[in-house]
Subunit: 151 residues, 2 copies
DNA sequence: CAGAGGTAGACAACTAGGTTGACCATATAT
DNA sequence: ATATATGGTCAACCTAGTTGTCTACCTCTG
């Protein structure tokens, strides 16, 4: 239809994403997690209940070296543990600590509150339409932030 | 309503954004603009018909040093010119070259085609709802990718 | 009109998050 | 037993940003 507005889509996507993430990180900072960045949150979500470094790299769609850096940062922040695997001595098993799980819970709650705000602002139907639109927008896409395996 | 899906929103936003941008950049690369990155496209949009470095920094929501770096990169790629202002000799006026305007046209066309894909895939109503949702999602937000001044 | 303070831009050093390439240690298959 | 594949690490580099400092220039005020 009115395809002139379409050009704003990338900006709106970016802006909405940043607004969402910034709001959540402000809440996390207030809750005692000052150094958590967006990449850390994504990585924690990707680790889920536990995985290896290579799996993390695949889930995030980055190189294993990049995943290792992030994992080390998360370990330094006390959010995950990295313990040697019993069945394969090359592997280090990444798993959230109690503090990491608390951070994930708070993060999820904060995201939920943000989207709830959206729902009251534009209505449930619009938010639902947005979810389905975005879900169908990038079919078969694999790579960064693809969580089809782990949600 | 079903707030469990809400947690996927940041991932969907990110994924949709990356899918969109990647597709457009693939087209641009094929059209003879191989080195254009997402930041360059945003900056070109922000420059519009012309502005100074400080204005660019404000429009992008970054430091003026970062904006200057980007502007130099755009100049090296032949997409903008940086000429001294006649009325203020401190200023350098940034303005797209013919090549830069061609790039912007191709970029806009590519974005339009991508969103048209979305429309045929999920329907005009869903895409429109997405646009209005995202537009209302971050009210009064200023900073990166805020284009209220220059669209 | 002289000088104070504000502004545009450049330069340098740093950070975060990513990349590739080379490498070692360990598993696994032949 | 040996060849090959895999998990992880280290090192060097890239991009896009940051803060701090500096100079050149404009503008406002006494």
């Amino acid at each position: 239809m009115d395809s002139t507005d379409d050009l704003a889509m990338p900006f709106l996507l970016m802006s909405a994403f940043r607004g969402l993430v910034d709001a959540v990180h402000a809440e996390l900072e207030a809750a005692g997690y000052p150094d958590v960045r967006a990449a850390h949150g994504f990585a924690m979500q990707a680790i889920g209940r536990g995985c290896t470094g290579v799996e993390l790299a695949e889930r995030l769609g980055v190189s294993k070296q990049a995943a290792a850096k992030t994992a080390h940062a998360l370990e330094r922040m006390g959010l995950i543990s990295r313990v040697q695997s019993p069945r394969d001595r090359r592997e280090r098993l990444l798993a959230p600590t109690a503090r990491g799980e608390d951070m994930l819970r708070r993060s999820a709650a904060a995201f939920g509150r943000q989207i709830k705000d959206w729902r009251t602002r534009v209505g449930d139907d619009h938010v639902s339409a947005t979810l389905t639109t975005l879900a169908h927008a990038t079919p078969g896409r694999r790579g960064p932030t693809d969580l089809s395996d782990w949600v």
